[in-house]
């Protein structure tokens, strides 16, 4: 599903080159739930943004769902993000001017989907996260946990093949964090491939496999993956 080989990411200034990732290798199989852990500044978020095609890389190879992505133009990368990847961010990143319904609708709009299908998918996704009744609420009217659930609904609505989560519970209290984590596990059990960046060992332990990143390199690929399911898509459709 996601395979990076000898991947490098270098930030260059006039005087210094900084390696965010160096000889980075990872292979995430379809249906896996992988936790990427490591200390602050280790490169795990950079890995996630490259994995999500939000950023380009300097060297190496990256195959996403069998496609080598380094030569893709902006349109093609945007289309892949839209159709194959769902993002869940630590800060939720909901658009404050849009209500819950409209926030979840954003990726579907870029897919050029018909209104009726959009509505069906949005309501399914919101029901899935238990927020169908809050469709007309604005993000500011929701708790942190509810906002993250909306973000998850937004990620699920497009039925992506890969969910990328960056510290999905980082801004939540323990109870809300537990709820969000249970939701991710449920999504995974239904067949989704999830890659989650976290520095919380407790959360990491709930993933099938842990990948530890230090100084931009994978230092320890943990035990063999334990699959829960093998459906091709996140099961909200």
């Amino acid at each position: 599903m996601l395979k990076m080989t000898h991947l490098a990411k270098v930030y260059r200034t006039e005087v210094v080159e900084t390696y965010a990732l160096r000889d980075f290798n990872i292979d995430v199989k379809e249906g896996e739930f992988v936790a990427v852990t490591g200390p602050s500044g280790s490169g795990k978020t950079t890995f996630l943004t490259i994995a999500g095609l939000l950023e380009t890389f300097t060297g190496g190879q990256y195959h996403l769902d069998g496609v080598e992505v380094s030569q893709l133009d902006d349109n093609a990368r945007s289309r892949i993000r839209n159709e194959k990847i769902g993002f869940i961010f630590q800060a939720f990143n909901l658009i404050p001017d849009l209500n819950v319904f409209d926030n979840v609708e954003v990726p579907l709009r870029y897919r050029g989907m018909k209104a009726a299908e959009r509505k069906q998918r949005i309501m399914d996704a919101l029901e899935r996260v238990g927020l169908a009744s809050r469709a007309k609420h604005y993000p500011a009217e929701l708790s942190g946990g509810q906002q993250q659930r909306v973000a998850i609904a937004r990620a699920l609505a497009g039925s992506p093949r890969l969910l990328l989560a960056d510290e999905p519970t980082g801004n939540l209290d323990t109870q809300m964090a537990r709820g969000v984590m249970e939701l991710l596990e449920e999504i995974h059990r239904e067949g989704a491939t999830i890659v989650m960046v976290t520095h919380d060992p407790e959360l990491a332990a709930r993933a099938q496999r842990n990948v530890h990143v230090i100084d931009g390199q994978v230092v320890d690929l943990a035990e063999e993956p334990r699959f829960h399911g093998h459906a091709a898509h996140v099961a909200n459709s």
């Binding site: 939000l54 902006d74 289309r79 990726p107």
Partner: protein, 435 residues
């Protein structure tokens, strides 16, 4: 996606009404200033007879000599003897000599007072040559010209005054105590600029109410009511005046093809050479035969203040646009996090361009509507800056309305181009990381 982007644009504008208002005002005021001055410029620079302007020619002939003219430009009118000689040569499809006369129109009803009306003495060709629109009858005939007939053409306004707008062809009109038979009634016709009489009107005038045959006017010694320029004392009496080198007559010719125009030019040049050979002109032939637009250009009919004010207002529009660029940049870049999210969720750079340009377009439409209202006010106030004959020409018509909206929208899009480009360059990774 257009309706989606439009919806987003309107929502974004409502979110920050002060900033939105500032941008709309900047566009509105800039466009209104430009359109107000443009309306004046357009009125003063337009082709007064577009269907024929390239076929109508004004004749100039230097009968004064280089010491009496400026920059080699022949006088803007002809002497009687030259005008008559050129007319009688019949070298054009149509030709007419014209000069303004002032007449008193004496109503039949003795209880009503005489009215002073602007009039022109001219030839029968004047009406078909200039496509003068008739509502009753026609112009007089060439035969009437030859017979020095007492005939007249009057305007609709005068017909309304004298005959309550009724049928008046064949009736008599009393001009300065002499009766003229009416052959036709024309619309209140005064093409602007009044190309056929620029030397006497400056190009802008209400036109005349009465037209009488040139030959008859000469017989009646109707004095020239326009400019009269002489380089030497003409001597006493009407006949001496006609024989003098005073210039006071316009000669217009209709020459449908370029070949005919060139042949006519050669003829005029030859005529001047003949005058030189005869000893009348002690200088080389110096003539001009110019079509309508060239004539208006040479005569500098467009007031310089109209051109200057247009340039100044366009400069003001540019300043407004620069301000709008700054405001849009601030507005768009404040939404960098939203742009980052949208890019992450599948928006391409093209999508971001479309979204933000459409948002800017909505500002343009709003600015255009405001600009339209302000242009209306501006046009009402044109009279404070320009003379009345010019000010009344500045009007709002569908073309100006459309142009105002188009200029506002295009100006907004131009102003939005850089801010939108910056918005499209937002790196989603950095935005999302910084959150």
């Amino acid at each position: 996606m257009f309706s989606y982007y439009l919806q987003l644009g309107l929502r974004s504008l409502r979110r920050n009404p002060v900033l939105t208002g500032l941008m709309i005002m900047a566009i509105g005021f800039g466009v209104a200033a430009s359109m107000t001055t443009y309306s004046v410029f357009r009125a003063t620079s337009r082709d007064p007879i577009p269907q024929k302007s390239s076929q109508l020619y004004m004749t100039q002939l230097d009968n004064w000599g280089p010491e009496h003219i400026e920059k080699g430009e022949p006088p803007p009118a002809l002497t009687y003897k030259d005008a008559i000689a050129l007319l009688n040569a019949h070298k054009a499809k149509r030709q007419a000599i014209t000069y303004p006369v002032g007449v008193s129109v004496i109503p039949e009803d003795p209880s009503r007072l005489p009215v002073r009306e602007g009039a022109y003495a001219t030839g029968s060709d004047f009406f078909p040559m200039f496509d003068v629109p008739f509502i009753q009858g026609n112009g007089w005939t060439r035969e009437d010209d030859d017979k020095h007939a007492s005939v007249a053409v009057i305007s609709k306004s005068l017909n309304d005054k004298l005959f309550n707008g009724g049928q008046s062809v064949g009736k008599q009109v009393n001009l300065d105590g002499r009766l003229f038979r009416i052959t036709g009634v024309i619309q209140d016709w005064a093409p602007q600029p009044l190309f056929f009489d620029v030397p006497n009107t400056g190009g802008f005038d209400e036109g005349a109410s009465v037209y009488v045959p040139f030959n008859r006017a000469i017989d009646l010694k109707l004095p020239n009511d326009g400019n009269n320029n002489c380089v030497a004392e003409p001597g006493e009496g009407w006949d001496n005046y006609l024989r003098s080198e005073c210039i006071w007559l316009s000669l217009w010719s209709e020459l449908p093809s370029k070949a005919e125009a060139n042949a006519y030019r050669q003829y005029i040049q030859g005529y001047a050479a003949t005058q030189q050979a005869a000893g009348r002109f002690r200088w080389a032939p110096n003539t001009r035969v110019r079509d309508v637009m060239t004539w208006l250009d040479v005569q500098k009919v467009i007031p310089p203040e109209s051109q200057v004010s247009l340039l100044v207002s366009l400069g003001f529009l540019v300043i407004c646009l620069v301000n709008t660029i700054g405001l849009l940049l601030a507005k768009f870049m404040r939404r960098a996090p939203e742009i980052g999210v949208r890019r992450a969720l599948g928006a391409s750079r093209r999508d971001i361009y479309a979204q933000f340009l459409i948002e800017a377009g909505t500002i343009g439409v709003a600015g255009g509507v405001l600009g339209l209202l302000l242009t209306g006010l501006g046009i009402l106030g044109v009279g404070l800056v320009f003379p009345e004959p010019i000010a009344r020409l500045a009007t709002i018509d569908p073309v100006l309305i459309l142009l105002t909206l188009v200029v506002a929208i295009v100006a907004s899009l131009v102003a939005a181009f850089y801010p939108t480009w910056r918005a499209a360059q937002v790196q989603p990774a950095w935005q999302l990381k910084s959150n």
